[in-house]
Symmetry: C2
Subunit: 475 residues, 2 copies
C-alpha cells in the first residue's frame, strides 16, 4: 500500500505512454520501468484476485478431478475468463483416473479405546468390507520403518508418526512427504495390511491432511490414511506404555481409470508476436475436504489478475500471455495433457510459471538461467524492491507440477518463491478455506507477477539463448 498521489499521476501518464509508444527494443526503455512500477501499484489495490478466490471457493467449493465439483469448476473457469475479457477461452478435455472418497473411520480398540481422526490418502485402495483390525507397529520415522526386516509386519497395521519441520521455503515438505508417498508400499512389502501416517503438516491440531499415496509397482496395495497430528501424538503416547495397540480401520473409496478432466485456457493475444507465448497459471482442482482456497484458488486468482492487468493497458503486450487453470494437479496428468495438446507451440513458448504455494507473500524471485543481468529485465530489481522481494542468486529450477512436462521439453521457467511458513498448517486439510487468505498478501503476489509479466511480454528477451550463453554453474 505505498501508492501516493505522485504515483497515481505516473500511472495516468504511463497508461498514455504505453499506448502512445510501442517499446520493442533490446533494452527495456525508461518507460517500461515506469509502467511496470505503475502496474505494480495498481495491482496492490486491485480486487480481482481476491474476488476470483472468493468466487471459486463460495460458488464451487471442493473440486477433485473427476468429481461433479471439478465439472462445475471448469464451467466456472470458462465463464470467469470470458467475463474478465480473456480471448480464445476454452476447456481442453483429457482423460484422467478418478478416485472418490467413501466413509472412513479408525479407532484404537485396545488397550485404551479411543476414536482416531483420519483422512484417507488420495488414490488409496479401500479396506475389505467390514474393515481391518490388527495390532499396530508405531515407527517414529520412515527410516525406522525402512529398517524393519521383510516379514516383520505380517498382518500388522504400520504407523509412521514422523513430524514435519516448518521452513520458510517449504523444503520441510519434501523431507516429510516421502512417508506419505512410499510408506504404504514399504509397509506392505514387509507384510503390513494397512498404513497410517502422521499428517504431513506443520501444525499440531485435530485436522488430518490428505495427499496422494504413491503405490510402488512391486508391492501389494494396502489401505493408507493420514492421522491428525494430535492423534499421532496420542498413539506415540500409548506406545510409550509398551502394551500392544490394536487398531480398527474402515475405509471405502471408489476408483475408475478414465474420467473427464479439463485444462481451462484463456489468452491476452500479443500485438506483435502473438505466436510467442508466456504460459502462467494455477491449478483448478482441489482435494475434496476443503474449498481449496490456498491450494490453489489463490494461484488461479494471482495469475489471472496479473495477466488481466497487463492486458488492461490500452496497448496490448507484444507477446501472448496465456493463463492456464490446470485440471488435475493433485491427482496428476494435467501437465502432460497440456503438453500433448500444445506440443507444436513448445518452441515458441517463451516462458512458463505456476503459482501453487498458497496466498502468502513472495519473498524472492528465481529467474531462468542466464537472464538475471539481461537488459530487458533491468528494471525488475527496483520494481520489486518495495514489495520486499529480492532477486535470487539461484536460477529457477522448478515452477510447478503442471509445467514440468513443458519444462522437460525445453520451456524456460520462472519461480516466485512464496513464504511457505504457514502453508503446511492448512494444505490438503479441511481447513483450506477462504478465511485463510490475506487479501493484502495475495495482492503482493499479483503486483510482482504483473510487473514481471509486463516486462517479459513487452520485450524480446530470449531465455533459451541466454541459458545457452550463460557460464556453467560452479560445482
Amino acid at each position: 500500500m505505498f501508492r501516493t498521489a505522485a504515483v497515481a499521476a505516473v500511472v495516468a501518464l504511463a497508461a498514455v505512454s504505453a499506448q502512445a509508444k510501442p517499446a520493442p527494443s533490446a533494452a527495456a526503455d525508461a518507460n517500461a520501468a515506469i509502467v511496470a512500477a505503475a502496474l505494480r501499484d495498481k495491482a496492490l489495490t486491485d480486487p480481482t484476485a481476491y474476488e476470483i478466490v472468493e468466487s471459486l471457493t463460495t460458488e464451487v467449493g471442493p473440486r477433485l478431478a473427476g468429481s461433479p465439483g471439478a465439472h462445475r469448476a471448469t464451467e466456472w473457469g470458462v465463464a470467469k475468463l470470458k467475463a474478465l475479457g480473456f480471448r480464445n477461452v476454452r476447456a481442453e478435455a483429457y482423460t484422467t483416473p478418478v478416485w472418490a472418497r467413501g466413509p472412513e473411520s479408525a479407532e484404537v480398540v485396545a488397550p485404551y479405546p479411543q476414536h482416531l481422526v483420519i483422512l484417507g490418502l488420495g488414490k488409496s485402495v479401500p479396506t475389505p468390507a467390514g474393515g481391518v483390525e490388527a495390532d499396530a507397529v508405531i515407527f517414529p520415522s520412515l527410516a525406522e520403518l525402512l529398517d524393519a526386516p521383510m516379514g516383520s509386519l505380517n498382518g500388522k497395521i504400520a504407523v509412521v508418526t514422523q513430524k514435519m519441520t516448518r521452513t520458510q521455503d517449504g523444503s520441510g515438505y519434501g523431507a516429510a512427504v516421502r512417508a506419505r508417498g512410499i510408506g504404504a508400499s514399504e509397509a506392505a512389502r514387509r507384510g503390513a495390511v494397512a498404513f497410517l501416517v502422521r499428517s504431513i503438516s506443520t501444525r499440531d491440531d485435530r485436522l488430518p491432511h490428505t495427499g496422494g499415496v504413491s503405490y510402488l509397482a512391486d508391492a501389494p496395495k494396502i489401505p493408507a490414511a493420514a492421522l491428525s497430528p494430535s492423534d499421532a501424538t496420542l498413539l506415540d503416547n500409548m506406545a510409550s506404555r509398551g502394551q500392544p495397540i490394536r487398531i480398527r480401520l474402515n475405509m471405502a473409496s471408489t476408483a475408475s481409470d478414465a474420467g473427464a478432466a479439463w485444462n481451462v485456457v484463456g489468452e491476452i493475444p500479443g500485438r506483435e508476436k502473438p505466436e510467442e507465448i508466456i504460459v502462467i497459471g494455477g491449478h483448478l482442482d482441489s482435494w475434496d475436504p476443503a474449498t481449496g482456497a490456498i491450494d490453489d484458488a489463490a494461484g488461479i486468482g494471482i495469475t489471472t489478475a496479473a495477466a488481466r492487468l497487463v492486458g488492461s493497458l490500452k496497448q496490448p503486450p507484444r507477446r501472448t500471455i496465456r493463463v492456464v487453470m490446470w485440471g488435475s494437479e493433485e491427482t496428476g496428468g494435467a501437465g502432460q495433457a497440456y503438453y500433448d495438446a500444445h506440443k507444436a507451440e513448445t518452441a515458441n513458448t517463451i516462458l512458463a510459471g505456476e503459482s501453487d504455494l498458497g496466498a502468502d507473500r513472495i519473498y524472492t524471485l528465481r529467474l531462468p538461467k542466464g537472464s538475471a543481468k539481461a537488459p530487458q529485465l533491468k528494471p525488475l530489481a527496483s520494481v520489486l524492491a518495495p514489495l520486499k522481494i529480492f532477486i535470487n542468486g539461484q536460477d529457477a529450477q522448478f515452477a510447478g507440477s503442471d509445467t514440468e512436462e513443458i519444462q522437460k521439453a525445453g520451456v524456460p521457467v520462472v519461480s516466485f518463491a512464496q513464504d511457505a511458513s504457514r502453508y503446511f498448517d492448512i494444505h490438503h486439510s479441511a481447513d483450506d478455506t477462504l478465511d485463510k487468505v490475506d487479501p493484502e498478501q495475495l495482492n503482493q503476489n499479483v503486483a510482482a507477477w504483473t510487473a514481471f509479466l509486463y516486462l517479459v511480454a513487452n520485450s524480446d528477451i530470449d531465455f533459451r539463448a541466454l541459458a545457452v550463453a550463460a557460464p556453467a554453474a560452479k560445482p
Copy 2:
C-alpha cells in the same frame, strides 16, 4: 523456572522447619512465607500435573457424563488419587440426564452445493428421520434474530453467524455464548424448524465447537448445531449474493433422563482441624469429540498436584484439603450433587475453588471479600509476584460452575484468573487434546495454587468473618 541453588537450600530448610514447628497463629509467621515460596518453586518442576493430564487424555479420552468413557474416567480418578497418596478416596454416585451424539451431517443444497462442517450442540434433539431440508435465514447477530417477528421463520432453518471477540479474561465468551444457549428456542418461537450457530470460537478454522443448548420451556425443541467458523463465513458469503440458500440437516442423538454419574473425591486430612475443609478441583467429564485436555484434565491436574505438594510436606496441613473431580460440569448437575452429598459440611467448608479455564498461565488472583489484607495472607503478594501474578483489587465473584451451589449456601470462593486468550480457540472442539498443554504454563498454575493452599490450610483465616467485617463495595 527461577529456582536457584540458594532457593534449593531454603527448600530443604523449609521442609525441616515445617515439620519441626506447628504454625497456628493469627498472623502468618516468617516461616510460612519461606515454605510457601519453596513449595512454589518445587511446583514449577513437579511432573505430577502434566502426568495426570497425559494419563487421563491417553488412557481414557472423551468422557461425557453417562458415557462409557465417563465410567472409565471415574475408575481412573479413584485409582489416581489413591496412587498419589490421597485419603478417603471415593466416587460419589448421583443421577444425571444422559445425551449421546449420533451421526450428523449438513449441506447446502442450493444455490451452490457444498458440504458444511457441523457439530450438534449438546442435548440437542435429533432431526426427524431423513433430516430436514429448508430455506435458510442468515442472521449476522443474535440481536437481529431477536428482532425478527413471530412467524417470520416459519418452516425455515435459522442461522446465526455472530463472531466472538478474543479477550484475555474470557469475557468475550459470555457475550457470544447466548447465541448458542437460547438461539434455538428463540428461532423456534419464530417458527424455525432447525438452528445453526457459528461456533463460539476465537479461531477461524474448520473445527466446530459444541456446548450445551438451553431449551426454553415455552418454545418447541428444534435441532441445533454449531457450524465451523469457516463454514459460517461461507454462508455469509453465499448470503451476500441475495439468492435463497437451501440447507439439508441430519442429526441423530439419543437421550435418557437417568444415567449414572460420579464426583470423585480424595483428601489430605488436616492435622489439627480436619473438620475444616478447603474444597478444590476441576471437572472430570469432557465433551465427546476430544480428549478434554484443557477442559478440564488441566484443572484436575493443577489442583490435584497442588494438594499433593502441600500434603507431601512432612507435617500435614492444619485443615483438610479436599480434591473433587466433578462428574458432569458440561451437562450440569455435578455441583448440586456435591452440595446434596455434603450439605452437613457446608458451614465448615472454609473456601472453594475450581480450575476450569484451561492450561495457560494465571495472571491475577481474586480473593474472597475482605481477605486481601488479612495478616494470614500477607506473604501472598510476594510469593506470587515472581510468577507474574498480581492480587486483584476485585473480590472473587465466581470460582466455577461446580462450586456455584455451595457458594450459594455460603461457602467463600477464590478465583485464579487464567489467561484465556487462546482458550476459546480450542474449547469444546475436537482440537482439545494433549498437545495444546504447555507444561511450563501448567506448572505456573500449580505453583500458584500450591502456595495459596499452603497458606490457607495452615492458617486460621476465617473468610466468612472477614466478608462480614468488610466495608461495603463502593457503588
